[in-house]
Chain length 383, copies 2
């Protein structure tokens, strides 16, 4: 199996891109990545998107964007794993280059969701729940996160303020990221008083839907040093799944897919999960971050919320999380999220993270979740 | 790069499975493939589906079906390239095993479209056209095929009867296939009098939407002989794309993606396209078959329709096509089609095709098209 490295990255700002369509948004990130890598085109394009079909009535993004971006006729298709679509596309690009079948692969994550207003958008997004047993009853991703959070608070005797630190950190980092959707700081104490979205999940707890596109270019480890001054190696790559419907899971508060994918990716990279310097986790809701940290062994069950301190997860902390604002403040470009994480980790490992830089970052662990962690995809990146 | 072989296959009948949901239909094919291979589970599941989101309001099929089929926690996600989703999933499984990252991969194609009645289903299927420039104007896949066919007839001075032979052959073969949706023979001469669907495409020209699921199990060429009496090697695998919107193409009647993907797959396999013994082409409309044959060099431009004779494309012909009935008579389980083609080719190469057997078949070329051939995916299979 060939080593695989990232030699180019591109991203658009996350936000409400009303003036830019789905294909154009994707092409912006494609061009940025081509420019960054200094190449004219690639051999294959793998597109991650979760809701293009249900929000934009558009599938077949591979051919569409390859052509629109002027890279015509190359290998291209779409990869989907709900909110983890971006990382699933990264996994596909990794497999393609690792196999030797593809020399230069681009992975693009793209999502355009804000053209649709809130209520139909919530329905369009509910396709990533179990359609026959959950969504049909009116369940939404936010309602599911509320169930997990309520159960967590009940089992461990906590109130919502326990989760505040995750959002404070995300906004502190997002404020420094020019591509972030929200660049405001959260005022300590405001979290517990924020309007409820789905009790107990509140406005400052849930990540905002944003339009966005991000791309990375992958080549073999052998070619990478000739093509980029500081290639970033994909040292570990793993996907694991769990039951989609919450009621089908063995244990609501144990993210089994997170545990498995992190173990596999770290084993491949030859490190422990704790050994990374930068972490991009799927903080669509704060409870997911607490549970992911527990599933990866950063804390005992019921103790993950205690890590939400600046000393622990801040840019200068022991385990920096959401270093560019995460889903909460950078914004949640759903199916593009996993590729944003790869772009952000690459910036960290290249030492190009500017005000968001984690000093001396050499190893990053990025983790993208889909369908309320029924899919977890973990990659370990290294320089 | 490791060699990759098919060691297990499974399929459901194609038809109107009103009593079976999407996940259950998928699980039927999964179980059939596991049984055929004599294995309990696999390491990864790649699912091809085109319209689960727009017809069944269900994405995240990887986790859903892995869990429902009792294979929990494994790597799983969905791959989409419109009607070529099945072959795109096969390509992904091929890359995964070829790379060495995955030992035993299952590729599942599944589509459940007949729960939705004709008019909304046509809209739900139009997501694979260009949403902003074609579908929004009311274009449908059948209307696009009608444009291609009308242009072909105009340029080459033909009437619809020129295409009849493709449908006669498909129904002759479908009549012998117990998994086919239509098992009736077409009466010679009936084609030209069939009710129009989109002038000049008529009822006997267009493939029927059907529900269905098919699966193949892939392992490395090294392990395959220990796991199956007659493994089928994937000797070539290639994806190519073209502009999605018809008006963006250089030449309406030249399927560039077909030409490119066939060239690449055959080059990898070390054969000419003409050297195969069995062909499964994407005969959703007869004009696509004529154009695909021309793009692959079986006939000059404007001459592909002349191949539609029993002596040429029948089971005992020089280039047998649609040997189990093709999309036209086996039925068109859209995003599962590419996997059905792989299952049918495997049956041919194993000599297990019963009444549909092509004598002495050693090499098969299978080709799955999506978005009116904006994606073409060709695989060459050999024993």
């Amino acid at each position: 199996m060939r080593d695989v490295s990232i030699i180019g990255i591109g991203q658009t700002k996350v936000g409400e891109h009303w003036e830019t369509g789905l294909r154009a948004l994707g092409a912006e990130a494609v061009q940025a990545a081509l420019d960054d890598a200094g190449v004219q085109t690639v051999d294959a394009l793998y597109v991650g998107s979760a809701y293009a079909a249900s929000i934009s009535n558009q599938s077949q993004l591979g051919a569409l964007i390859a052509d629109y971006a002027g890279m015509g006729n190359l290998e291209a298709f779409t990869v989907e794993a709900a909110e983890a679509s971006g990382a699933a596309a990264l996994r596909t690009g990794y497999l393609a280059v690792a196999s030797g079948a593809v020399d230069v692969a681009m992975v693009l994550g793209v999502e355009k969701s804000t053209d649709m207003v809130a209520e139909p958008r919530t329905l369009a997004r509910s396709i990533s729940l179990d359609a026959d047993y959950e969504a049909i009853q009116g369940a939404t991703a936010t309602a599911q996160a509320a169930l997990l959070m309520r159960r967590y608070m009940h089992d461990y005797g906590l109130d919502v303020s326990a989760f505040e630190g995750f959002s404070l950190n995300a906004h502190a980092n997002g404020a420094k990221n020019p591509n972030a959707m929200y660049r405001n700081l959260l005022k300590p104490g405001a979290f517990g008083k924020a309007p409820l979205v789905a009790d107990p999940v509140n406005l400052f707890d849930s990540a905002p839907d944003g339009d966005g596109a991000a791309a990375v270019i992958l080549v073999s480890g052998e070619r990478a040093p000739d093509m980029a001054p500081l290639p970033v190696r994909i040292a570990g790559s793993a996907v694991a799944t769990d039951a989609l419907a919450l009621h089908d899971r063995d244990d609501l508060l144990y993210l089994k897919a997170v545990a498995l994918s992190a173990q596999k990716a770290c084993q491949q990279a030859g490190i422990s999960a704790q050994a990374a310097n930068v972490y991009e986790l799927h903080d669509a809701f704060t409870v997911l971050t607490a549970l992911a940290l527990e599933a990866m062994g950063f804390a005992e069950r019921g103790q993950g919320w205690k890590l939400a301190t600046d000393a622990q997860i801040g840019l200068a902390g022991a385990t920096p999380i959401s270093t560019f604002g995460g889903l909460k403040a950078r914004g949640n470009p759903v199916g593009a999220t996993g590729v944003y994480q790869a772009v952000e980790a690459t910036l960290q490992l290249r030492g190009q993270a500017a005000n968001n830089q984690v000093a001396g970052a050499r190893t990053a662990l990025i983790q993208n979740l889909g369908g309320m962690a029924s899919t977890a995809i973990t990659h370990v990146l290294r320089v």
